[in-house]
């Protein structure tokens, strides 16, 4: 497998072009071409497709796309070129498993197949900002207390000592350390000191602060994982390459991250499905990921629960499950906020579709598009686990029926979804337990979904 310098060499020698030229003259035409050539067709009536031949064509289209467009480096203004052979080799030789966590909390992230009865890997949490340390502490402890949780994200901090956290500034560095300390204490209180933390801090947007804070003396462990991102679409910067180089040299886990956008440069659901798949390949070729982390969403609605996103990701998950045996975590976004019925309906639809399609790993939906401060609680993590375990009992056909029924409950509200509550409004901040009202709502929605045929607790 090529090293980072081999990758970087491609960024020094690929064809030179502006970013706009890459977007409009290379990427857009190639996506359109592969969608047409490989006959990828959206079927709105079946958000959970069962066309295995089309899933395989999505994989082939993704290989074609990556080898045709390359990956653009925004710092050298060149498109790194990869041959089809290199792309296929990346899929074939990528890691089959990823080990995270320590001691009793060691977890092995593996791939899954389509219609796989094994449970998915669970990442819970979000980088949603917590306005107080005690909220962050309670939330993380609540996540860690869920036995099936394999790793977690920790809340973000947007101020330290009253100073705003600016990307690339010392406040970002100090905020990271503070968030990390809170998280490490919280997982110990939950009796899970070795639990892996992914993206210790969502706050560090810039490599220098991320790297500075990512060190053993501050509590970070090689067995944690770090998200190393892309720029939409199919682009990378020195920042990301520096992070990857640092983490690889240290021996820490790299989660190659991408946020494919339906409605962006890839166009509609067909191009989106191909792009979601292509990113897993890019994650190996460029980021040398120990696993892959995709957070797909609809460009206009900024959520993952629209019919076309559910379809596109289902197809990409199936393409990967059948052809790219690399652990991939799918991290969706909800339109509705926490402590709303709609949030749980969205979770149910997304999980039914993607888990039955073979998603190796899945994350709780980020409530309210992840923009509401204090807008997450451990309850969403708990539901994600329960829903993931239930979905694994089903196959795609059954999932499709259920997704259609669940979508009737929320689809027409996506554009105007309820923002939901803050942590301190639906949880007791002192005890860290859900309030009675939230607990009742949770139980009621679960009962409703169980009545539809979702096998909770099976």
């Amino acid at each position: 497998m090529a090293g980072i310098l081999d990758v970087y060499e491609k960024a020094l020698h690929g064809p030179i072009m502006t970013e706009n030229e890459f977007d409009m003259r290379v990427f857009v035409p190639q996506v359109r071409r592969v969608v047409k050539e490989y006959e990828i067709r959206y079927d709105a009536r079946n958000p959970v497709p069962t066309d295995d031949a089309m899933a395989d064509r999505v994989y082939e289209a993704a290989v074609d796309l990556v080898s045709s467009t390359g990956v653009y480096c925004t710092d050298t203004n060149r498109a790194m070129q990869f041959s089809r052979e290199e792309v296929r080799r990346a899929a074939a030789e990528g890691p089959r498993t990823c080990r995270v966590g320590q001691g009793r909390d060691t977890r092995i992230f593996e791939t899954r197949c389509v219609d796989d009865a094994r449970r998915p890997w669970f990442l819970v949490g979000s980088g949603i900002v917590s306005s107080r340390d005690e909220y962050a502490a309670n939330i993380v402890e609540g996540y860690a207390a869920i036995a099936e949780v394999d790793c977690l994200n920790v809340p973000g901090m947007n101020s330290i000592r009253g100073l705003p956290v600016h990307a690339g500034a010392p406040t970002e560095f100090y905020a990271t350390l503070r968030g990390l300390r809170i998280a490490l204490d919280a997982i110990k209180r939950a009796g899970r000191p070795g639990l892996a933390i992914v993206n210790h801090h969502p706050t560090p947007a810039v490599a220098v602060t991320n790297i500075a804070a990512s060190a053993p003396q501050f509590g970070c462990r090689q067995t944690d994982a770090w998200l190393c991102g892309t720029i939409a679409e199919m682009k990378v910067s020195h920042d990301t390459l520096n992070k990857v180089a640092y983490l690889k040299t240290w021996g820490a886990n790299v989660a190659a991250e991408a946020g494919p956008m339906l409605g962006g440069y890839c166009g509609g659901p067909e191009g989106f499905a191909v792009l979601c798949t292509a990113y897993i390949l890019m994650g190996q070729l460029v980021h040398q990921g120990d696993y892959h982390h995709n957070f797909p969403f609809h460009f206009k609605h900024i959520c993952s629960s629209t019919r076309d996103v559910i379809w596109g990701v289902s197809l990409a998950v199936q393409a990967a499950a059948r052809n790219i045996p690399i652990p991939t975590l799918w991290a969706p976004y909800a339109a509705a906020g926490c402590a709303t019925k709609m949030y749980f309906y969205e979770t149910a639809a997304v999980f039914l579709a993607w888990v039955t399609s073979g998603a190796p790993g899945i994350m709780n939906l980020h409530p309210a598009k992840a923009v509401k401060i204090d807008g997450i609680t451990p309850m969403e993590a708990r539901f994600a686990v329960e829903m993931g375990l239930a979905a694994a009992q089903l196959d795609r056909s059954k999932a499709n029926e259920l997704v259609l029924r669940v979508m009737e409950k929320y689809e027409d509200q996506i554009a105007d979804a309820p923002p939901g509550s803050c942590y301190q409004e639906c949880f007791n901040p002192e005890t860290g337990k859900p309030g009675d009202e939230y607990q009742k709502l949770y139980d009621a929605v679960k009962e409703e979904l169980a009545g539809m045929g979702i096998p909770f607790n099976s």
């Binding site: 900002v129 947007n158 956290v165 990307a167 690339g168 947007a205 720029i231 910067s237 166009g267």
Partner: protein, 217 residues
């Protein structure tokens, strides 16, 4: 060739994102004596409205919008001199300096806003991404802008939106510019807190709000 056919083809060129055809028919329009303003309003703009409506409804996506805008520009490069000569060129509705703030390399939303404003009569200078706060102000002064548009997608880059406004205040320049902010995490609460004039939820929302704000100033 009939004028109506020329206008229809200009509209089609926009819808199809065919810049070569648009430029060709812009030339044909002038050669055939079509009023260049009519070519814009009843040809090109009709196509842009069609594409814009489809983009808003989710039936067309970013590539179609950007290709339509590029096509519009290709035709306008031909028609603009004629409009100026006939003194039929419309003054810009306003001049906008836009960019993604320091530390933020996300650009797609910002690019869409810049495109939509540009095709709706605004003169737009796109500063790109990772733009230092002072650069926004220096470029706004140089460009004689009416509006400064600040995009920030991440919670850690949103403080730079505040920094631009604070710097404008410190330099006694705040009243000179309409400041509109946007980005996935930007809320009305944040907008009010930092003293921005408005928060654009989408490109169309930004267009509507700017229209009202510029009239007021």
């Amino acid at each position: 060739m009939e004028h109506s056919d020329i206008l229809a083809t200009l509209k089609t060129a926009i819808i199809d994102g065919d810049a070569a055809m648009a430029a060709d028919y812009a030339d044909k329009a002038l050669a055939a004596g079509v009023d260049p303003l009519m070519a814009v309003e009843q040809g090109l703009s009709q196509g842009m409205t069609y594409v814009g409506d489809r983009f808003e409804s989710g039936d067309a996506f970013l590539p179609e919008l950007l290709m339509a805008a590029e096509t519009f520009t290709a035709a306008m490069n031909i028609l603009q001199p004629a409009l100026e000569q006939m003194k039929k060129d419309r003054p810009p509705r306003g001049k906008v300096v836009i960019g993604s703030v320091k530390g933020d390399v996300h650009n797609i939303g910002k690019d869409i806003v810049a495109t939509v404003l540009g095709i709706n009569g605004y003169q737009v200078k796109d500063l790109g991404v990772d733009v230092p706060s002072l650069t926004f102000i220096e470029e706004a002064e140089r460009f004689n802008a009416d509006v400064i548009g600040l995009s920030a997608i991440m919670t850690t880059t949103m403080p730079y939106q505040q920094e631009v406004i604070e710097t404008l205040i410190a330099k006694n320049l705040r009243d000179r510019y309409v400041v509109i902010i946007g980005g996935g995490s930007v809320t009305q609460q944040w907008t009010d807190r930092i003293g921005a004039d408005a928060c654009g939820r989408s490109a169309v929302d930004t267009l509507e709000k700017l229209g009202r704000l510029i009239k007021r100033k």
